[in-house]
Amino acid sequence: MSDTSVQPFPTEESLGDDVLVRVDNLVKYFPVRGGGLIRRTVANVQAVDGVSLAIPRGKTLGLVGETGCGKSTLARCIAGLIPATSGKVYFEGKDITNLPRRAMQPYRREIQMIFQDPYGSLNPRRRVGAIIGEPYAIHKTATGAERKKAVQDLMARVGLNPEHFNRFPAEFSGGQRQRIGVARALALRPKLIICDEPVSALDVSIQAQVLNLLADLQADFGLSYLFIAHDLEVVRHVSDKVTVMYLGRIAETGPGNSIYDHSRHPYTAALLSAAPAADPDSAAARQRIILTGDVPSPIHPPSGCRFHPRCPKAQELCSQEEPALEPRAGDPASHLTACHFPVEAGEILARAGRRESR
C-alpha cells in the first residue's frame, strides 16, 4: 500500500478512561459434534478464549492476527451476531452480552459492521437505494421521500453518485461496493463501526481511498472503529491502539507506536518482520523471522503459552505456565504483553529462529 496517500490518524499516547466498549474475559467455543443419532459434543473449537479489551471512544482499535486466530469471531460476539460462551461485553457501561434480539435493537443502531467481501455482503437482488435504506426501514426512522433523501445524502457522503440509487450492486466495482457497505453502516449514525477486514478484498490503490474515507468519516462523526486486518501496515495507519491475537488469546496490546517500535512478543515481532516494506532500503536491511510449523489446532491448543511450539525463544517454562498479559521490560502500563521472555530492544530473533542452536 502506498504510504503517502493515507492520511495519518491522530495518535495519542494516553487513551484516557473514555471507553466505548469493554470486553471482559470473552470466551467463544464452537462445539464439535460427533456423528450418529445423538450428536454429543466431543470437542470445542476454542475460537476466542478469554479475551479482554477496550475500544476507546472516537479512536481506532486495530485487531491483528493470522487467519483463524479468532478475530472475526470476537468481532461477531461484540456485534451480538453470535452468542458468547462466557464473558461480558459492555457498551457504554451497559452489559449487552447475549441480549435477546428485541433488547439488542437499540444497540444495533450504535454498533454497525463493515464486511470483508464487497461482493458477498450486498444482496444481489436489491437495489442500492434499498440496501442503504434498509437500516431506516428496519428501525423505522425515515420513510418515503425522507428516506430517499437520506440515502442519497449518504451516497454522496461516501463518494458515490446519488443518481445511482436505482442500480443493482452488480453494476458497481469492488471499491464502490465497499462504499455502499460503508454508507449502510453509517446510515443510523452509529458510535462504533466494526470493520472486519474492510479493505483486504480490494485493489491496493482502492484500499487507500476506502481507508481515507473511513478516516474522514471518523473525524466528521466521531466514530470509533474496531479495525480488523491482517495487513499490519494498514492497521498501523489507521489505529490508535493495536491488539495482536494468536489462537484465541491476546498476545500483545498497546498504543500503535509502542507496538510497532518496541514489539515485545516474539509473535508480534515475527508478524512485523513478515510485512512487506515500501522502502527497498529498509526492506534489505531487516531480518525476517521465519516461524516454523503451522498454527496449532484450536481444538487442542498447546499448553502454557499457546505460541510456544513455534516460538524462537521458547523455553521449558513456556510450555508449562501461561504468561500473564502485563507490562514487560519496563513498558508503560498501556503496553501489555503475554510472554515470559519478551523481546528486548536490539535483539535479533532471526538467528534464534533455529531451535537446534538453543
Binding site: 464486511f115 455482503s121 437482488r125 434498509e134 428496519i138 436505482n166 457497505g181
Partner: protein, 341 residues
Amino acid sequence: MSITELEFQAKAVESAPEQAIEGRSQWNLTWRRLRADRVAVGSVGVILLVITFAIIAPLIASLTGHGVDQAFPATGLDVNGSPVAPGTHGFIIGTDDIGRDLLVRIAYGAQISLFVGIVTTAMATAAGVSIGLMAGYFGGVVDAVLARVIDAALAFPFIVLALALAAVFHPSLNIVIGVITFFSWAGISRIVRGQTLSLKEKEYIEAARSLGAGPWRIMFIDILPNLLGPVLVLATLYIPTAVTFEATLSFLGIGIPEPAPSWGNILGEAQSYYQIAWWYVVFPAAALLITTLAFNLLGDGIRDAMDPRTERIFAGSAAARKGRRRRGAAAAAEPAVSQGS
C-alpha cells in the same frame, strides 16, 4: 484475415455503445431473453388462447344456442342413441353420450381446469415457499419437524387419499383443490429449503442481522427475492401438473362431480364411447395435451431465460443468431488485427 471480417468487427464496435449503457435488472434480462425464445412466446400465445377460450365459454354457448348442461336428445343423438359426429345439426365438434354440445362443455371445462390449475399452484407455492423458508432459515428442531412433514407428504399415496376423501365427503371442487394442493406444496418446500440453507450463509444475510433485521424480514425481504427465479419456474411447471391431476381425479370419478364439465370427467365418460365416437375422446384430450404442453414449454423457456449461461443456445431467434455471428467474427478478427498494427 478478410475484409468482411474487419467490416464485421467495425460494425460491432459501432453498435456497442448503444447497447451497453443502460443498467438492467435480472428480471429485465430474463424478459429480454424470454422474448427472443420463439417456443416460449408461442407457448404464451397458446396459453392466452386457452384462457380466452375459457372466458368466452358463455359466448360460445349463446352463439351455438346450446347450454352447458343442456341435452338435445332429438338432434344431438342419432337413431341408435349414439353421439352425433362433428358438424351435424350445428354441433361443431359433435356431442356427448346424452346429446350435449361437446364444444360448449370443453370450453366450460377449460374454466374449471385452469381455475384448479392456477389456484392450487398459487396455494401450493405460497405454502411451499413459507414452509421451506422456515425449515431452511430456522434450522434445528423446526427444520427437523418440517423436513419430516415434507417427506411424509411426498411419500403419501395420493390416489388412496383422494379415494378416501371422496368416500367420506361428497366429491367437490373444494376437495379437488385441497387434495392437489396437499400433494404439490412439499416438492416446492424441499427445493426452497435447500436454497435457503445455502443462501442464509451469505454475508449479506449476516449484514441484515447486524442491522437488526428480524427473522421474518430476512426470510421474505432478503432471501425470498433470491429464490423467486426457481420458484417461478417451478410454479409454471406445477400448473400443468395440477391440470393433469384434476383430470385424473375427475376421470376416476373422485374429482369434479357431474353435471359440471371438466376435461377429466368428459374423458372419463368418453371411455365407453371411443369406438363409435372418436371426437368424444380426441377433443378433450387434445385440449388437455395442448394446455399442459404449452405450460411445460413456457416453464422450460423461463428456466433457460433465467440462466445467463443459456444465452447462446437459443433455437431460432434471429437477434441471437446475429449477435452470435458478430461475436464470433469479432473474436476471430481480434488477434489478427493486433498482429497487423
